[in-house]
Subunit: 565 residues, 2 copies
């Protein structure tokens, strides 16, 4: 490398695509921070990749529309028996058949070892070598586009994993101005931050330009600390918009955020960062709590049907009020009437995998309740997202697994996991060991299941709901101002979306609801009877109704006597 002031420039004309190299700093052989491929892992040499070499077949791909799609989150290592990009390709027809519009890949950047969720990635430009490297990833994106699926990638810009993270040897990529759950924060606003910002922005542009991704899901943006006048995420959005104009395709930036701060998605004119959408954990938590009755940890802030109703109308439940879990006021009104700016889900990798036993929603409740939950998510005014295998209630868990080659670190992770759950009353020995290969193997989907009962029945339910959503414009709409909810704390909720009403009976008794309109049943999880403006629902059931006129604000439960009279 040649020194030019504070810079070292690397120009070795003898290197060609396919050649391996190290950068030598202070006598240490280190991988290139911008390595495109780490064929031997995070500590090995970097390999030169020429993105122009890949033969793309997706010239006709015009992009997908996030707001009209159902997303499907998947993890490359466990979504197919092979655990590779090519393995995932084989599963795409199933997703198209289900009605999914785009897949969202959990992080694929090179992380230590063979097994992991991907949030410990350190070579953020290099698709994991065990998944199939750059070419494998390009084949997956290309195949997805060929079959009509968009592809979103989960990227982690708030920290890098602890093992194989050599960035500090090169430049001030980190700052001690802020403290994150993972230690020193990435330097987004201190000296030399302009170069650090470019490091991540160029990464985003690479995935969109060179790998043909349609969008990025940005992990935990609340841990991206940036006091600059132009926040990193705003700058990222501006750069991505520039690439959009250049290539003539629409790109989506989706934020995961713990802040309930609509500034992320407000347009620039309103002082926002202009991102496409954000995940709504409030929606998940309020739905999860109503369905399961759980109240541990952050679930203590949720649990009422009123919270669920609020989350359906406003995406946030906490829009300024006091959170008992956080012990402070939380969030603000979104000021946004477009539900297409929020991603909702019955579960995602986090809520499943952060349980000691990696239980999916299907492990926690009856099939009847599952169907109600699925209907609320898939017919919501938001953008629904499924987690791999959810659609058939996969019996396999999604556990937390790692493969730290640094054995001390592996032991620390193992111990940390045990301690975490011990505080919830677990016997430490019963907490699955993240480092054990079996923990990973158990998390792989069993693709024989979707064809078997009762999985097949649930799969059909998901398929019908998605089909209904695409068929009826009232369900495809994201107009939050026209979404109304009627509920009772005794366990039912009616969600009105134009001329369609989703009536849910979450209680363990059959109920009759006076909804103030005549209706007919479009789809239901159990037989629903309609008597004039009254509907009779079995316990734990959901019915999707076409209503003749607006549901009455006076919607209420009626007794059998009154009905007969």
């Amino acid at each position: 490398m040649e020194r030019d002031g504070e810079w070292f420039t690397f120009k070795d004309s003898s290197l060609s695509p396919g050649d391996d190299y190290y950068l030598i700093i202070d006598g240490l052989e280190l991988p290139d921070p911008r390595s495109n491929y780490q064929p031997e892992g995070v500590h090995g040499p970097s390999r030169i990749v020429d993105h122009g070499d890949f033969q793309w077949s997706d010239q006709a791909w015009e992009g997908f529309d996030l707001s009209t799609s159902v997303l499907y989150e998947l993890h490359i290592g466990t979504c197919s028996p092979q655990g590779t990009f090519d393995g995932a390709i084989e599963k795409l027809p199933h997703l198209v058949d289900l009605g999914v519009g785009a897949i969202e890949l959990m992080p694929v950047a090179e992380f230590p070892g063979k097994r992991g969720w991907g949030y410990d990635g350190v070579d953020i430009y290099a698709p994991h070598h065990h998944y199939g490297g750059p070419d494998g990833l390009k084949r997956l994106v290309d195949a997805s586009h060929a079959i009509g699926l968009g592809v979103v990638l989960d990227v982690v810009y708030n920290h890098l994993g602890p093992d194989g993270n050599y960035l500090s040897k090169f430049a001030p990529y980190f700052t001690d101005r802020y403290l994150t759950p993972w230690g020193a924060a990435v330097n987004f606003d201190d000296s030399y931050s302009h170069e650090v910002r470019d490091f991540f922005i160029d990464n985003a542009l690479m995935w969109l330009r060179d790998y043909h991704f349609d969008g990025l899901r940005i992990d935990a943006v609340h841990a991206i600390f940036d006091s600059s006048a132009v926040h990193f995420l705003e700058e990222l959005q501006v750069q991505v918009a520039g690439l959009e104009s250049e290539v003539g395709r629409r790109f989506f930036l989706i934020a995961e955020s713990d802040l309930n701060d609509p500034r992320l998605i407000w347009p620039k004119e309103r002082g926002g960062y202009g991102l496409s959408a954000q995940w709504s954990d409030d929606f998940h938590h309020s739905l999860h709590c109503v369905l399961t009755g759980e109240r541990d940890g952050y679930y203590e802030d949720f649990g009422s049907v009123a919270d669920l109703a609020a989350s359906i109308r406003e995406a946030y439940v906490y829009s300024g009020r006091f959170s008992n879990f956080r012990k402070r006021n939380h969030g603000r009104k979104t000021g946004i009437d477009d539900g297409g700016r929020f991603i909702v889900y019955l579960q995602n990798h986090d809520q499943v995998g952060n349980r000691a036993n990696g239980e999916r929603t299907s492990h926690l409740m009856s099939n009847e309740r599952l169907k109600i939950g699925a209907a609320i998510v898939l017919l919501s005014p938001f953008v629904p997202m499924l987690f791999q295998g959810e659609e058939w209630g996969a019996s396999t868990p999604f556990l937390y697994f790692t493969d730290h080659e640094d054995l001390e670190l592996g032991e620390a992770v193992r111990r940390g996991r045990r301690q975490e759950f011990a505080s919830f009353g677990w016997d430490p020995d019963e907490v699955p060991d993240p480092q054990d290969p079996a923990t990973f193997e158990r998390s792989k989907l069993d693709w024989d299941e979707p064809l078997q009962s009762p999985h097949f029945d649930l799969l059909e339910w998901y398929r019908s709901l998605i089909a209904l959503r695409s068929k009826l414009p009232d369900l495809a709409s994201h107009d939050l101002s026209s979404t109304k909810t009627f509920h009772s704390e005794s366990g039912w909720i009616v969600i009105e979306r134009g001329r369609v009403a989703i009536a849910c009976n979450l209680s363990d008794r059959s109920i009759k609801l006076e909804i103030g309109s005549r209706s007919s049943v479009l789809l239901s999880s159990a037989p629903i009877e309609v008597y004039g403006t009254v509907i009779a629902m079995p316990s734990e059931s959901v019915g999707i109704l076409e209503v003749e006129r607006a549901v009455s604000p006076g919607t209420k439960e009626v007794s059998s006597e009154r009905l007969d009279g």
Copy 2:
């Protein structure tokens, strides 16, 4: 105190106004964090104050208009021989005579010892007992209003001083999530932050409501770290607006910020915090560097006449470009055409007092250059602010002084100050000792000076400029879009504000400028001759001209030959 859950309530009905008390925590006698008066200093007892007891005479006061006023920053301890609120009252007629619209008091909250700038305050509800306590402060505000002056108070919400700061004994007022230059940050967004925010918001409301202040200057808001969806400053502004409606008077919130981030003053509809104004250090630095030629420290980022011209048109010089001092990109376009949202100054307590010898601008340059600087500030499209004594070029310095009773801390401050300037090449023994009472005494204004030459001459110049500003609507305007600048790096600049042009010759030679319009001289620091559309200016001079039509974009220096021809 009685315990109620996580709270202790203090209700001792035997206490009356004037009574002293301590709060006892873990056996320690501590002052009340919300103490209204600390008659024996930061470690002593708190005294009960009934704000209803004071006899106000300012019922007819309708508030002042920040945007049409000239501010005057003063420090209670040094602006009068007495160094008290009552002492300051005696100086108010001078300020009215000068044409000032409002005074801005450096922090008055109880700080350790008798002498200090005030930024080490710890009892933020208690006016300093050496200044005259609550009643003294009320007398000053009342007298100011009686004579037609508004009053703004400097408040410090980003940290508390190190000595006498007992807040952590009471509750989590601080957090280690963020690091500030003063250690742990105030807890604005972590658990229990809602109460911490209220602690500061109630304080702001108290000054405005119970002390009749017209506005607050909020110190170093870049050190207020808050990731909440609603930033502390936005919440503060909302609460202050509520009080405005309640009492029917206009309040101003003015931020000092190092961020060049217009979000502070953008309206809420644009995602801003809606503050009234912010200080513009860029304006100061660019003007200071052009006038003095200094380039040390943060001045390295400034120095060209083009920077000065930019700061006059846009308030920020750094609106996104790379700062060599900061080693990163800095700031963003303000998107604001109203110069009334920015406070500008030739100097303030910081730039004077942060020099080893506390030199004012008048110690650093000729009277001729001073006059040019004053004209640029006072006839700018922004809100001008003077620093006490500036108007007569006070010969007294404004040094950094402290009176830490904690002698170890005092020694640390002394040593820190010496080391800081040693790094700039100073002999440590020549750096004035902040703890020495003489350092404070030397900083007191000498009120005999304004009547003496050459001070009187400068005072007249300031008075004339302020009078001109109030007389001519073109100069009172804050329309940045109609403010134009023409300049040459060879040392002149013409600032056009409607039909008034401020022509400045900063060079050491006489020049002739072709400005493309006939003009007449309204005011000048030296004889200016007008020949048709050309003006002839002596070296280091400024002329305020009435122009017949717009100054030509082709404004340029012309040779004598051409003029004669």
